[in-house]
Symmetry: C2
Subunit: 487 residues, 2 copies
């Protein structure tokens, strides 16, 4: 298991390098190097001999609870991997490579039509994958299961159905009020100073720079090569204060989770994260509940003013807090506010479900996309780049992923509520620059258990009940009624 | 072969990252990741099935000359690798890991005794390795063969025996003259400006930044992950102008060679360099023959003055040229001038030979080291760090390597003489900022043939005769008699 992990982490290093430092002509050979590492790891992991060893271990007596869980989860992964023949994996890998480059080109030319056929090929393969993996009720369940074990459309549909009217009510109230002013966030903010401030914030979040680093890449991401080497990336827009900073905090939240996973389980399932939903809850908790909260800025606005005295001259922390929480329907998911964000996800989720069940074809995507943005956000999508070409996921073959973005935000609100309930003075601490309580709580309830439990069980253990969207609605209602004075 | 190359290059990426960007706590797991990649590649390369395929290919008809050579060289490597049992390779890898960390510690504590036992273990293993590989006459031949196929102590002894008295004569003449002034090189030179100037010089050398990059590391090196991704590193000393710049040019020379190797042979022997001696000839040719030459600075001194107007105020290009070529016996090989450099290498070569033949033990090294430095360079070695602990090679198990440093310099002089003879106006071109002729000549005579020929054959083809140290002596005599006015 550790040798296989070595190969996978080596591949992650090559991918990290590809996004940060790779010279342009190095791309072709890098592609094949990454593919070979993936193939070699897959071959080792799916060998009959290896499966036999896992089977033998499962029935061995005297294993500790943790050892037993490692064996069970390994066998679960093994069985799943065995369902996908090597030829299929290779076919998928080639199709992904093709569609990713088509997506890049389509974005460059701002034309979905260049992406349509490769995407259609991916969709057909994802449908095959769902059949190979097996599922109950709906093929999309097989794909979501990859990102959050046990997550089904029943659960997601119910969550979204409950969430939608409440979000719309909240949005209507906000729309009836005058917009908040965030113009001071759109001035010139020097690149190096932004970088320095981002690094400061990461330190304040307890990001361990002895066990990780930050670099620049076109799209921010977090990766790791063990819990002792966790890397985040960011990008800087000199005309937008918000762009880099909350991306730093978001990726920082992911990174704290990875740094907190148990190193002594290296290569074994218990060293892995619980699910992508829980992973996203960690980034969203820091980004939104903490990083867009008033207490955090009561402590840190002075730092922002020190870095950018001119830009924030005369701005109060209240004004700043309102500005960074401005609600406004927008075209790009990653730049959306906390409320309208969910509509971006719901729209993609609905489209994906239909693509996988076959009721929608790739060619229909731009029309339904634009229609949905009109319907839910009242926006006219001007072109494909700002519309259905904005996310990389489909080109990577990542179907079943999007829902975890919303669900992660819902988990974040529920976890944050539990933290507040169990530690009533936590926001006073944050306002004094202390986030140790939150950090310790997350270590204890989330990080250290790795992949031991499913999202559902982890959430119940940590908060006393399974996922319930009312925590998010309560959190949002309280926050925005104060900001927009809707009460 | 290409899959094996993918794994080896992946390991090179992990090693590059280890020297440039790895956070401190990431070291342990990185060590095992690199080891796994090495082991996996070794297993693939030494499998009986793979050997059978190579054998079958060798006797197949209709192969082109290049294909045949690729098969021959692969089979040569295969046969050599098969001689080392997996258990031995693992043992060596563990011993190297141990001795490398012992060397780091010994340097920190400035005490050879901390390194003695692990080094002794390495020496015993290297003797075993020589026995396993097989050799004629002397076990050291088996080890040198790894770095330059066919190189023997007969050849090296003869070369060094011829070189030594001529070097000493030259040095005596220089010592009889007043020392040149290089004090202007030891002022404060801003880090960022040094970096910018180094990047400029690399561009002027034709380093392709689309197919490579430069970063900072503690010890400069060149590595590559295909000829389309070649990376150099450097380090900056703000109190020494020479430290970074000639390291840039040196590594740049290595890098041009790697960038010029045929990408269409990726993974095959013909995509590889000829030998370490020839590799070193490429770095030394650019570093010394070009980069410490007067023509180069007739063109580039103005650039140096633009970067550092104060530091070089009132200095003429002649003064600068003399300063950068100052001859002075010194303790550290990598900082030595072109003449005394060879003594550093000869001393190590003699010690290594005796260690491998068993006439010297690890415990004897400091004494013989210090004695030799007194004898050949007239210097008293103040401590082990400035003495026998200065080079990393032994801790890596790299025995048989050092001679290639001197031999590379000799090849460089011979190749440079051939370039000058075939292109009489080349130094006038350099003085005008044009190095295209040299670059094209090296591409044609060195880079593009990869590993097709041995060093000896390559040199004969390029220059009309095998290695002959009189080219270096002629070059050095001409250069230093002008600088020190010894005629």
């Amino acid at each position: 298991m550790q040798k296989i992990a070595d190969l996978k982490y080596a591949s992650a290093v090559l991918q990290w390098d590809q996004e940060t430092y790779l010279p342009p002509k190095g791309g072709d050979m890098r592609g094949r190097q990454i593919a070979t590492l993936g193939e070699t790891a897959h071959e080792m992991f799916t060998s009959e001999k290896f499966g036999g060893l896992l089977q033998a271990l499962l029935s061995r007596e005297g294993l500790t609870d943790h050892q037993k869980r490692n064996v069970e989860l390994s066998l679960y992964d093994y069985t799943k991997n065995k369902k996908l023949p090597a030829a299929f994996v290779r076919k998928m890998s080639e199709a992904v490579n093709k569609s990713f480059h088509a997506w890049i080109l389509a974005r460059k030319e701002n034309s979905f039509s260049l992406f349509q056929q490769p995407l259609d090929d991916i969709i057909q393969l994802k449908k095959q994958e769902a059949d190979l993996l097996g599922y109950e009720i709906h093929p999309y369940n097989a794909l979501m299961n990859d990102y959050d074990r046990g997550l089904t459309i029943d659960t997601v549909d119910a969550l979204f159905t409950g969430l939608k009217p409440q979000l719309l009510t909240l949005l209507d109230k906000i729309k009836s009020k005058p917009p908040v002013d965030d113009s001071f966030l759109h001035q010139h903010f020097d690149k190096d100073k932004q970088w320095a401030m981002g690094m400061e914030v990461l330190k304040k979040m307890h990001f361990d720079f002895e066990a990780g680093r930050q670099d620049i890449s076109e799209h921010p991401f977090t990766t790791n090569f063990s819990s002792q080497d966790v890397r985040v990336t960011t990008r800087i827009d000199e005309n937008d204060f918000a762009n880099m900073l909350w991306s730093c905090i978001h990726e920082g939240g992911h990174a704290l989770y990875e740094q907190g996973l148990p190193i002594e389980e290296y290569g074994l399932p218990l060293s892995e994260y619980c699910s992508l939903s829980i992973h996203e809850s960690q980034s969203r908790l820091w980004e939104n509940c903490v990083g867009r909260g008033l207490p955090f800025w009561e402590n840190n606005f002075q730092m922002a003013k020190t870095f950018f005295p001119q830009q924030f001259n005369g701005i109060t922390v209240q004004q700043f807090y309102k500005g960074i929480n401005k609600v406004q329907p927008s075209l790009i998911r990653t730049e959306a506010d906390e409320l309208t964000y969910h509509f971006h996800v719901m729209i993609r989720y609905e489209i994906e479900k239909q693509l996988i069940e076959g009721s929608l074809k790739a060619k229909d995507i731009p029309a339904i996309w634009n229609e949905s943005y009109k319907k839910y956000l009242g926006l006219t999508v001007p072109d494909d780049k700002k519309g259905c070409l904005q996310d990389v996921h489909w080109s990577h073959g990542s179907f079943g992923y999007f829902a975890t973005y919303s669900i992660g935000s819902l988990y974040a609100a529920q976890l944050y509520a539990a933290i507040l309930e169990q530690n009533p003075s936590v926001e006073e601490e944050i306002a004094k620059g202390k986030t140790e309580t939150i950090f310790a709580w997350l270590q204890q309830h989330i990080y250290k258990s790795g992949r031991y439990s499913t999202s559902e069980v982890l959430c119940s253990n940590a908060t006393g009940e399974p996922l319930n969207s009312h925590f998010f609605i309560d959190y949002a209602t309280k926050k925005y009624s104060s900001i927009y004075e809707t009460n």
